[in-house]
Amino acid sequence: MNRELLKFLAFSAMVLAAPLYFKGGYLMNVLVFVGIYTMLAIGLNLLLGYAGQISLGHAGFFGMGAYLSGVLTATYAWNPWLAMPLAAAVVGVVAFLIGLPILKLKGHYLAMATLGLGIIIYIVFNETIDLTGGPSGLSGIPYLELGGITFDSDVKSYYLVWSFALLVILFAVNLANSRVGRALRAVHDSEVAARVMGVNARLLKVQIFTLSAVICSLAGSLYAHTMTFIAPASFGFNFSVELLTMVVIGGLGSVYGSFLGAALLTLLPEFLRAAQDYDIIIYGALLMLMVMFMPGGLVRGIPDFFKMVIKGRRGAGNA
């Protein structure tokens, strides 16, 4: 338990110090995205990595958070700090109501159902033009403000987004090592045995689905208020796949792995500017290679790899 706390403090220190190192350069902007994507990846990972339930529609919940916040503040001039929790609450209720019937499905069927759900949400963003501005997007979303500070620069946005991201990380770490987290992992390993132990698997799945949707909604609100412009294209099926890739690359069931996956997938295209349009190929290849050769993700794969190398060397030395 204390080790978890230490890990978290070390990680927080790193996050807080990063701007000093990058000195507000261009990379700061990218790191804001890493923060948002970390939240999203953790949200999905709670569902996929811990409870073992797949979703290919989480971009939809991300988008709902962004659009609810965006429309309420830009069109109806709400206070963003009021719009954000309201958006999260609405998304939570929607996710709960949809989760009840949908999470009865298993495996491939659940994947298809959530995929369909994500696409329906995406179509609604595109078609309710009066409200969302349709495919051309919604602009004029205000920045967040707190105590006279407007979060309008990269550095300020960085600290804003990362304070939320750190809270989500702490939240997820606590959850993972608790009664509920254990029950989730138990459902993942053997649903029938978990139920025999008194775990209401069905309700638990719906709860975690709802929680992960709420986290995605929060990330969406932050996205809307730091970008000040949103368009449906950011919330489509491809983004759901991107999220899935982050979680799988980082490591299913690892909170810090989600950060790693989010960071890698956000930074990689930045370094591969030339490969701009072709990042989709890289995602596809990465997904397949990870599942085939490193099903535990980077957080487990890298240590295993080094162990193997060391063992190999020792073995060679002994022989």
């Binding site: 996929l48 073992g52 797949i54 290919l56 019937p101 949908i102 009865k104 499905l105 298993k106 495996g107 491939h108 069927y109 994947a111 298809m112 159902a113 995929l115 369909g116 759900l117 696409i119 329906i120 179509i123 609604v124 595109n126 078609e127 099926f237 491809n238 796949v241 899935l244 799988v248 349009d277 072709y278 989709i280 190929i281 890289i282 995602y283 596809g284 290849a285 990465l286 997904l287 397949m288 599942v291 085939m292 099903p295």
Partner: protein, 293 residues
């Protein structure tokens, strides 16, 4: 007036529906042989159209030669996909299979983009473009091609599954893979077969619809998903039920687009998909079965 319109919508819905049905049969064949929902199924539909184009324009083959070449090439792609992505999987859990077929799907899509760019391409219709008028509604010769090919494929399918050794072996795998293995059926080969056959079906669907709808590297997602929807309506049957599911979906979609709103056309399929998955996961025509354990 309204009647004419509705008839028109139904007729055009019928041909897109037939396409969904063919794609759905592809889903079902793999699902029945392996328990896998192949998320890359739609990409073989895309390959059907794009490869035909490749043989037709880049290699300047006549249409009658380009089509079999495209189907054969898609089958090779399906074979490679099974060999390189599915078979080596060490932990074939449903989640891993979903992830790997999604990975495969976007990889294929990405490679297609790399090869053919992002433009949409048109395939010439098989026999002219002169509209035919039926009871006041008009259809194109290509629509007829689609319906004829679909009927033909359903018949061939039926023959294969019920009157050939390999087809019967495939059905045995669908009922009980372990038992099939015990009586000497090479289950792994049947799995491979199922991927090859469904990529053939997918590519046929893709190349007969391409003259109507144009084709590009990313048509596979939507067509694939709607094909899956057809298969779900048909209770994952690898026969006529899925084709009927497809026709139903095509007509509903076409009516919805015409009478309600074209923007929500795609949403119709997914709402149906969700409703059926939640309310009647065994399909519209199947009887309730106890869960397969």
């Amino acid at each position: 007036m309204l009647f004419d319109q509705i008839l028109q919508y139904c007729l055009s819905g019928l041909s897109t529906g037939a396409i969904y049905g063919l794609i759905g049969v592809g889903f079902s064949i793999i699902f029945n042989a392996t328990g896998i929902i192949n998320f890359a199924q739609g990409e073989f539909v895309m390959l059907g159209g794009m490869l035909t184009l490749l043989f037709l324009e880049t290699l300047a083959l006549p249409l009658w030669a380009a089509i079999p070449c495209a189907i054969a090439a898609s089958m090779v792609a399906g074979l490679l996909f099974e060999r390189l992505a599915i078979r080596p999987l060490r932990q074939p859990t449903p989640i891993n299979l979903v992830i790997i077929t999604i990975g495969g799907s976007i990889l294929i899509r990405g490679l297609a983009m790399l090869a053919w760019g992002k433009d949409t391409h048109a395939l010439p219709p098989f026999s002219g473009n002169d509209p035919i008028s039926i009871l006041g509604a008009t259809i194109l010769p290509q629509h007829i091609w689609i319906l004829v090919v679909t009927v033909f494929i359903v018949a061939v399918n039926r023959f294969y599954f019920y009157h050939t050794i390999s087809g019967k072996a495939m059905r045995a795998c669908a009922y009980n893979r372990r038992a099939a293995g015990l009586v000497g059926i090479d289950v792994r080969r049947m799995v491979l077969f199922s991927f090859v056959i469904s990529s053939a079906l997918g590519s046929i669907a893709g190349l007969i619809v391409a003259p109507l709808t144009m084709t590009s590297y990313d048509v596979g997602i939507m067509l694939g998903l709607k094909g899956f929807c057809a298969a779900i309506i048909g209770g994952m049957s690898s026969g006529i039920a899925t084709v009927i599911g497809g026709l139903l979906l095509g007509i509903l979609e076409s009516l919805g687009a015409g009478l309600i709103s074209s923007g929500y056309k795609d949403a119709i399929a997914f709402i149906i998909l969700l409703l059926i998955l939640v309310i009647r996961p065994q399909g519209l025509f199947g009887k309730a079965e106890s869960e397969r354990v």
